[in-house]
Every structure is written in structure tokens, then in C-alpha cells.
Amino acid sequence: MAKKKTIRTIPQERTPMREQDPIERARNFKEVACGYSVEDALREAERCLQCADEPCVRGCPVSIDIPAFIQKITEKHYHGAYDIISDTNLLPSVCGRVCPQESQCEGVCTVGDTLEPVAIGRLERFVGDTAIREGWASVPYIEPSGFRVGIVGAGPAGMACAADMAKAGCEVTVYEAFHEPGGVLKYGIPDFRLPNDVIDAEIEKLRRLGIRFQCNTLVGRLFTIEQMVTEMGFHAVFIGTGAGYPSFMGIPGESLNGVLSANELLTRCNLMRARDFPNVDTPLQPGRRVAVIGAGNTAMDALRVSLRLGADKVSCIYRRSKTEAPARVEEVHHAEQEGIEFHWLTSPIEILGDEKKAVRAMRCVRMELGDPDESGRRRPVPVAGSEFEIETDMVVFAIGTNANPILGQTAKLKLGKRGYIETDDHLATSIAGVYAGGDIVTGAATVIQAMGAGRKAAAAMKAYLGLRDTDGVYAPDDQDPSTRRFGIPVEERGFSRVRLP
């Protein structure tokens, strides 16, 4: 065993990841961040202190055993690293790219107290991409349990839940309304951040676990949640339909041609591949000067997609300052590098049209930050007399989403005030055997949070079905007895309550 590493002996600088040149990449859809080479990964893995405290594991919504997989990398045992990650996370290539690591694992990294934290996300991506390239898949021996599980929505929450239920021996069918599985990973996150072939590769892994994806299926309308339980023979159901009903501001001019939601822009561009129009049939209005309202991750995607679609000028309009912007730091940084113009402390008040009802400009007002509001962020207030016009021919709203109404319209599920599905602490809904998680419960959040919810629900569903936790991870005596991984109490693990379906 090598000498114990200390903060002084590890490589001091965080290993940079090669990126496409900003000027060049702003005009193509190829991935911005090129990933670590083996040398990069080995060097960065050396930076992990293997500290006893392991704050990173607690910072991870799905509790990946981060020090252990990094240790495997330093041993050049990449398959071993992959096995450790895929114990708790089936989609390392996705999460390594899109997780907000700075506020999760990397945000609490011990090394980060003194130096830049270990680049956990990049290492995770390295392992995931290596697994895809080498065709590794951890397909455990699965003993059929005889239970059938239906999952509504093939996005991150549904995929994570499906994986756990399949590993527990359930026959899993995932229903998806679109013609391809993936949910927000496919329609929302653009290729330059998360290439579609990476998603397809990860989905293929789920298929190898025996999971069936049934696309073109609008649950609620084609059949109801109740029918899944009563007629279709599902012993448990998970709802992970996402939020995805886009918000607009209600300012004058929103129905002008050239005003659209970020969801529409991104879906046309990513899922429907409108950027290849007319070789594909879905069109997209070309914007020459595009204004995107909002500063979350979706807004960053909309901005950068607009640039790549050929806009001359792309501006971000946000009513608070850069400090409050909800997007990942890295995304804002990338957008700045690529030449996006940021108008912080600016709020639109009216969209102006021409005689053809097309957008020609947007009236905005400057804001200043007042006292903190309920969210703890300082409330923006308009500065009197500061109105001004921005010339634009396309306005994209990326100011958040609301709950999708379809399941509320069609199932007798208990909903909260804003239309989100109400659940108990174990993500059980008001219908027995039906669980829900992700954005449709919490409102818009991140991919990894949705995956965490999918896994938490899976744990509860296994308990509901009387299935023993088949992942075979038993907490040793010296570990925190509260369920480090699966939300199932230690004493429940290995407790076999067999209920015949």
C-alpha cells in the first residue's frame, strides 16, 4: 500500500478537461467538453485523499461510493470503477456530464477546503464513457420475482426506478409519450452537452436488464393509472412524468410570431433535429437576434443552441444578478466564452411586433436588488424610468415550468395546490401501489435529483411488494445504520417477506 496521501503530496492543480475552442464550437453541435484521457484521469484520481470522512458520498443524491471508484481508477482497474458506480448509478456518462457537481459531491470535497476539489464529475464521465466504448454492462444475475412494474415516463426518474426494479427481478415496462425514450435528456439537453448516442448507449444498458420501453404511449389518455393497477396487471406503478408545462410571463406581445418557450426551441432542435431542416421535416424559425429570458440551465441551453443555429447576437435577460443565476457555474462560463451577451438585472415588460405580427424588439426595465424574499435571494425591484428597448426577432422564455396537467385530469391522484402530485415521505401517492418522483412531485429540479427520487421510490416499491433488497449491499456494523444507499432500514435488508403476486 502506498504512503498515505496528504494535501501537500497530491497534484495541486485540478486537471483541466480539453474543450473545443469557443469560437469554433459556438457554430457546431459537437460536444464542448471533450472528456479526460487515461492520463488525465489517472492524474486527477491521484488528487483524491481517500479521506475517512467521505463527505462526497453524502453530497451525492444517489450516494455513489466515490472514493472507492476513484481508488479503482488509480489502480487502473477501470471496469472495477464502473462496477462500483453502476451499483448505485446506471447512467454515469449522463451524470458525469450534467450533474451540478459544484453544489453536490465536489462542493463538499475535502480537497476543496484547501485546493480546487477533485473533479469527480469528470472522472465519473471518464468511467462511463470507457464502459460504453468497451461495451461493459453490469448485468447481474436476476431472479424473477414474478412482479410486474409499470413506469410512466422514460426520463431520468423513470430510468433510475426501472433499473432498480428490474434488478430486483421485476418485469418492467416503461411508457413514454414521445417516439423515443430519454425524456429531458433527449428533448431538452442539447447534443453539445450530452450527445444523443451517449443516452442511447445508456438506454441500451437498461434494455439489457430486461426493461421494455414502450414509446408513443400517452398514459392518462391511452389508459389511466388506475387501469394499470386494476386491468393491466401491474403490481406497482411509478410516475415520473416531469413538470414540463412551460411558464410565460403574461406580458403584452407573447403571442407574436417569434416568441416561444425554451422547451419548444429545444425539442424542435434536439429531439426533432430541426437544425437539419429541410433534411428533416420539423422546422425552426431562424432567429437573427435572439433574447432568452431566464438564467437557469435551460436558459443556458436555449442561448447556446440559438447561437449554434446561426444567430448573430444572442442575449440573456435575467432580472437578478449573476450571483443569483440558477444555472451551473460552468454553463454560464461556457456561454460567456461563446459570446453570449448577458443583461443582468433586466426584466422584460413588453414584446413589440411589426405589421406582420413578428417580433421586432423587446421593452425592458432595469432592476436593482432589494431585501431578500422567501427564497432568501434578494428581491429584484424595477428602477423607475429605466425602460429601454432591445432589438430582437426571437424571444425565448426559459423561466421555469409548471406541473403537466394530464395525469391530474385523468387519475384520481391527490394533487398539491400547484398541480404537483402529493406523496408521503416514501414517495407513495394517494393510490395504493402507485409511487411518484422527480419534477412531477418536487417541481423543476436536476437530472440527478430526479434519478435519486426514482431510486428512492424503487426502494419503497420493493418494500411495498415485499421484495428483499436484492442489491445485496449490507451495511457493516460500523456504518451509519440509517440507509446509506436505498432508503431501506438495515434490519429490513435481507428480510424476506415473500408475497406471491
Binding site: 413514454e176 409519450a177 414521445f178 417516439h179 423515443e180 425514450p181 428533448y187 442511447d200 438506454i203 441500451e204 420501453f213 414502450q214 414509446c215 408513443n216 404511449t217 400517452l218 389518455r221 391511452l222 389508459f223 414540463g244 408545462y245 412551460p246 410565460f248 403574461g250 407573447e254 403571442s255 410570431n257 416561444l260 418557450s261 422547451n263 419548444e264 425539442t267 424542435r268 426533432m272 433535429r273 437539419d276 431542416f277 429541410p278 433534411n279 428533416v280 421535416d281 420539423t282 422546422p283 425552426l284 424559425q285 405580427k357 403537466n404 396537467p405 394530464i406 385530469q409
Partner: protein, 306 residues
């Protein structure tokens, strides 16, 4: 099933009503069972196709099929007209989407369909008839040659007024003329349903407004997913903004801002024109290159993958 998890949807029959209007009967037993009057589906003809909303014109629960009536006006619909035959498959069919029409509790109802709205008004007329209402149908066509489904309408309507622009069948004039006649004869009409191009629905709403007859219209704005996700289909209803795909597609015609709807329908007009021209050109070239292409290629063939 291909690698993306999509599977085809078999076309079991096709019927042409005119050089632009055609009917497809698609096998989808689950959808046929779930469909109700007023709902729509989203269809993709092929993998790089566009997602287009089409109102469900009919459904046969015993045969497990749904019927779509399509007007070949743009690239996608013309391509469907050229390619979709019995035995071929559609890449994607998803639905039923939208809130079903509220049918029942009225004694006398006027069902108006014009142009591409004639087909989707049929399940409404039939459902009203089944609910026990006295149904007066008004259907409009350009001329006698384009009239279709007259027998189907006669079977479910207590009275049917056929209108043609040139008077070659039924009465001469637009459907609004038929509405006037119907209201004159039946002052006790309690509800009207109108489906067709926006300009026609606007005319219908104006025709019934003075008589204070509640008039439901079915809106057809541009949409992508049809599940409330893109917001492209937002329409102004009175003071509020609604998404036609999940809040509709039926709305009170007296509250709909039709001018806004019509202007929003032109959003992708340039792109649509470009796509159509390009496609027409490619068809012409293909035709020139393969003059010997026999029509048997187009003949209906039974599906081999039953």
C-alpha cells in the same frame, strides 16, 4: 421494433375523397378503445418526419382501428398522400390527446363541419345522437365532387344540410348559410359545434353569437409534442392563455381570439413553403429518372408482418 423503441402502426385501409383529401384507417386497438369524440392524435410518417396533430375522425372498437382524414396541403401531408397505402406503416401514432368533447344534456344540437372539419365533426354528431339529442348536421364542400360521408352523416343526423360553394349539391353558399337556415327553422337549438379552418369557425361563432347559442370549436394550432410541453399551441381564450393540446382542443368559440390563432398558424409558413418546394422538386426529379416506375408499386398490398 427498432433500436429507438418505436414500432410501426399499420395502415389497414385508405380511401381517397378527392385529389387532396384522403382517409387512412390505422390499426391501434388500444387507441380505438380509448378514443372519444373531440380528441386527436399526433402522427409521424417516418423517422425524420414532423409530428402533426390530426383529429380522430372515427374509431371502430371492434375492428381495433382509428380513422384519420387528411388534407394534403403541406410537405408532410402530401408525402403521406404519396406514400401511405394499406399495408404500409406509420412510424408513430400517439394519443388520444386532448380533453374529450363534453357531450350530453342538450336536446337539440347543431354540428357544423367545413373543409377538413367535415371528418372530425362526424364522431361528434354520432356521439350527440347517442346521447339522445336531436342532431342537425351542416357540412360544407367546394363542390359536388368533393362531398363525402353523406350517408354516414344521414345515419346519425336527424337533419342534414349540405352546402357547396357553387351550389352543385345541397344549398349554395358557405356553412354559415346552412347555420342561418337551421337556426331559422329551429330557434330552440341549445348548442352548436363547429370544426373546420379557423376562418370558418370564426364565421360560425359570429353566426350563432346573436342567438346566444353556445358554440364549441376545435382548435388546431401548431404543436410539437401534444402533451403540454412545448407551449407552441397556446391560444387566447377571453382574457386567458390556454394550451390547445391539454386544455382543449375544444373551446367556447365566442371567447376564442381567432385572429391571434390565424396569425400564429403562419409561424412556420416560410419553412413550410421551402420544404414543400424542395419535396416537389425531388419528386419531379425522381419521376424523370425513373419513368418506368410502374403503378403496381403503389398498389395496395397486404401486410406481411401480421
Amino acid at each position: 421494433m427498432d433500436s429507438t423503441g418505436s414500432q410501426g402502426f399499420e395502415i389497414v385501409a385508405r380511401q381517397d375523397f378527392s385529389d387532396v383529401t384522403f382517409l387512412l384507417e390505422v390499426r391501434h386497438p388500444m387507441l380505438a378503445r380509448a378514443a372519444r369524440a373531440g380528441q386527436f392524435v399526433i402522427v409521424m410518417e417516418h423517422e425524420s418526419g414532423e409530428r402533426i396533430p390530426l383529429t380522430i375522425a372515427d374509431f371502430d372498437r371492434d375492428a381495433g382501428t382509428i380513422t384519420l382524414v387528411i388534407q394534403a396541403v403541406g410537405k408532410t401531408t402530401r408525402e403521406m398522400q404519396a406514400n401511405c397505402r394499406a399495408g404500409t406503416e406509420l412510424y408513430a401514432v400517439v394519443g388520444p390527446m386532448g380533453i374529450p368533447s363534453h357531450i350530453g344534456g342538450k336536446k337539440k344540437v347543431l354540428c357544423v363541419g367545413g373543409g377538413l372539419g367535415v371528418a372530425p365533426i362526424y364522431p361528434q354528431a354520432r356521439a350527440w345522437k347517442e346521447s339522445g339529442a336531436y342532431v342537425i348536421g351542416v357540412v360544407g364542400f367546394r363542390n359536388r365532387d368533393l362531398v363525402f360521408w353523406e350517408d354516414k352523416f344521414r345515419a346519425c343526423c336527424d337533419e342534414l344540410i349540405v352546402c357547396t360553394d357553387d351550389g352543385s349539391a345541397g344549398i349554395k353558399g358557405l356553412v354559415t348559410e346552412g347555420i342561418k337556415q337551421a337556426i331559422a327553422k329551429h330557434p330552440d337549438i341549445e348548442e352548436a359545434v363547429a370544426i373546420g379552418p379557423p376562418i370558418m369557425m370564426k364565421g360560425c361563432a359570429e353566426a350563432t353569437r346573436p342567438h346566444k347559442i353556445r358554440t364549441m370549436v376545435s382548435l388546431n394550432p401548431v404543436m410539437v409534442d401534444g402533451t403540454g410541453m412545448c407551449g407552441g399551441c397556446r391560444v387566447k381564450i377571453g382574457e386567458t392563455v390556454k394550451f390547445a393540446c391539454v386544455d382543449g382542443p375544444d373551446f367556447d368559440g365566442h371567447l376564442v381570439d381567432f385572429d391571434d390563432l390565424m396569425s400564429r398558424l403562419t409561424r412556420y409558413r416560410d419553412a413550410e413553403r421551402e420544404a414543400l418546394e424542395r419535396w416537389t422538386e425531388s419528386c419531379r426529379i425522381r419521376k424523370d429518372e425513373e419513368p418506368a416506375m410502374a403503378t403496381s408499386y403503389l398498389a395496395d398490398t397486404p401486410s406481411t408482418d401480421a
